[in-house]
């Protein structure tokens, strides 16, 4: 029951592409939503530039509810919503939807944590100069936190490879799917080995890109 590598390679290449698309798309959408949520969470904190108890608590509770749910359960739990939004529960697009939701909430926390570590005095200095809250968000908060933020996003990104494999086992495609059907169910060790190696290489690459970028931004 060994696979024929001549015909199997294109499958691997295709699956690698699917995994990459899942991870990159999730990272992009998740960052947009997550960074916005993280900023909102931060600025609505007590004594912050747009203090708002209600918004802060609502977001905070929502994040605390979603984050501890294991991804595989979350994936299944929202499958009806996924069908409604994407039209199907099978394939890369259907995997990206729940991955984006989960990633957004994680990114929101990472962003909030990074923003909290900005010296409040710096924000105050901008306020004292007459900067508006929106201006502070875009010209102070984001640039000041960018270095560690990139590291945080890299951490999330590495986790997304994991998520993509989980999604793959339940019809999401990608390397996870290959590893599951050929490596696990058909007991083909070589397929397993190849997918694992490809995943390791991709994770290393992502980590390297993240480290390099953040180093450049932190100038240290």
């Amino acid at each position: 029951m060994k696979v024929d590598w001549m015909t199997f390679w294109p499958r691997i290449v295709e699956a690698t592409g699917e995994t990459l698309i899942m991870v990159v798309a999730t990272l992009i959408f998740g960052s947009i939503i997550g960074i916005s949520m993280g900023l909102l969470l931060f600025v609505t904190r007590d004594n912050n530039i747009l203090e708002n108890k209600w918004v802060f608590q609502a977001l905070n509770i929502l994040i605390n509810i979603i984050r501890p749910v294991p991804f595989i359960i979350f994936l299944v739990a929202i499958s009806q919503l996924t069908r409604l939004v994407v039209g199907t529960t099978i394939g890369t697009a259907a995997a990206i939807f729940p991955m984006t939701i989960v990633a957004s909430f994680s990114i929101a926390r990472v962003v909030e944590n990074n923003l909290v570590s900005i010296d409040p005095g710096v924000i105050e200095a901008a306020q004292a100069m007459g900067a508006s809250p929106l201006r502070i968000i875009f010209t102070i908060l984001i640039p000041e936190a960018l270095g560690p933020l990139i590291l945080g996003l890299t951490f999330i990104c590495v986790g997304l490879f994991d998520f993509s494999a989980v999604a793959g086992t339940v019809g999401g495609g990608g390397l996870g799917h290959i590893a599951m059907t050929y490596g696990y169910q058909r007991f083909d060790g070589s397929v397993m080995l190849v997918t694992v190696i490809i995943l390791i290489v991709m994770v290393q690459l992502a980590q390297w890109i993240g480290n390099t970028l953040s180093k450049k931004l932190m100038r240290r």
Partner: protein, 341 residues
């Protein structure tokens, strides 16, 4: 220029409350370098932050150039803030921006054109003496250099007022001196009114013309620095003055003196013109009395001289009392009792 009218600020933390500022009324005039001094927790920072509404008063008004700034709309307040420069103990520079970028930031906020910004930044760098550091980042600078950037940034939009929250407290004595000189230059060359807070009396002594002493949220004494130094009213004020000038020998020296000498010790304080006349020697000579200076100093304060001498007199008893009477008309005289100091 800046007027605090019965200003109070209370913080509420859960059920407990902290009255950080209590019914403060002060007037800072155009051109002043006005110092507010007090121990930690006296409410200095809170009072200062009321000037640009980083903190809103719970009672009273803060009036700047005729407008009660607590009534301004958010937009108008932001405009007004461009007229009030602020510098901080920890500099609060933007670490993600270069020195030039930091100084350019308030100019961008003010909507200045790019070419003008470059020019103005250059001008400011020159003023604070950091032209060679334009492209450096804050973490590549020393504390003194960082504060220079802070000052340049605060001056960028040509404000009428500069408020300083412990601007020199994080710096070594020499750098403190440099920054104080720079602040003096800001006041004299640019005509900017400065309101500063500190817990170090020597800061007040070296650059301020007026001072207010704060304790427990309230201003307990205020006035021209020279008057406050030469004639302090409140014990706390005396403590602060004592921190920069010792006006009495130690108890040990006093005891030694009394063991070997008869008679009383007198504190003679001269201010202004009397420091130039040989008052002591001419009067004692006239009454045929000898005097001995046990301890003392003459200092410069606000371009005026201020003398403080501990003196003993020897001679006939009646002659001494006549000498004391005559001196009392010209200088301030008081007998030194041992419990002092």
């Amino acid at each position: 220029m800046i007027e605090f009218k019965h200003v109070s600020k209370t913080f509420y933390i859960g059920k407990s409350e902290v009255q950080a500022v209590k019914d403060v009324s002060l007037t800072i005039a155009q051109g002043d370098i006005f110092g507010i001094i007090g121990f930690s927790g006296a409410g200095k920072s809170t009072l200062l932050r009321l000037v640009n509404m980083l903190e809103r008063p719970t009672a009273g008004k803060v009036i700047i150039q005729g407008t009660d700034i607590s009534t301004l709309s958010p937009k108008k307040l932001r405009e007004e803030r461009q007229n009030i420069g602020m510098i901080f103990q920890n500099f609060n520079l933007f670490n993600s921006r270069t020195v030039a970028g930091n100084i350019a930031y308030p100019l961008k906020l003010a909507g200045m054109k790019k070419t003008q910004i470059t020019e103005r930044v250059q001008e400011l760098l020159q003023f604070v003496g950091l032209t060679d550091k334009a492209k450096h980042y804050p973490d590549q600078l020393s504390g003194g250099q960082k504060q220079r950037v802070g000052i340049a940034r605060a001056l960028a939009t040509s404000p009428d007022v500069l408020v300083c929250d412990e601007a020199t407290s994080a710096l070594d004595p020499e750098t403190t001196g440099d920054i104080l000189k720079l602040l003096k230059k800001v006041n004299q060359e640019l005509g900017i009114t400065i309101l500063l807070i500190t817990h170090e009396m020597h800061v007040i002594q070296s650059i301020c013309n007026k001072v207010a002493i704060m304790e427990d949220g309230a201003v307990i004494e205020s006035g021209p620095v020279f008057d406050t130094f030469t004639n302090p009213q409140h014990p706390t004020t005396r403590r602060f003055i004592g921190s920069v000038q010792q006006d009495l020998p130690s108890a040990h020296i006093l005891q030694e003196w009394r063991r070997h000498n008869e008679g009383s010790l007198y504190r003679v304080t001269f201010t202004g013109d009397t420091t130039n006349d040989p008052v002591l020697s001419s009067i004692t000579k006239k009454h045929n009395v000898d005097f001995n200076i046990v301890y003392g100093s003459v200092q410069e304060l606000q371009n005026k001289l201020f003398g403080n001498l501990i003196v003993s007199f020897t001679g006939q008893e009646t002659a001494i009392s006549r000498t004391l009477e005559a001196l009392n008309d010209i200088v301030t005289l008081e007998e030194v009792t041992d419990i002092e100091g």
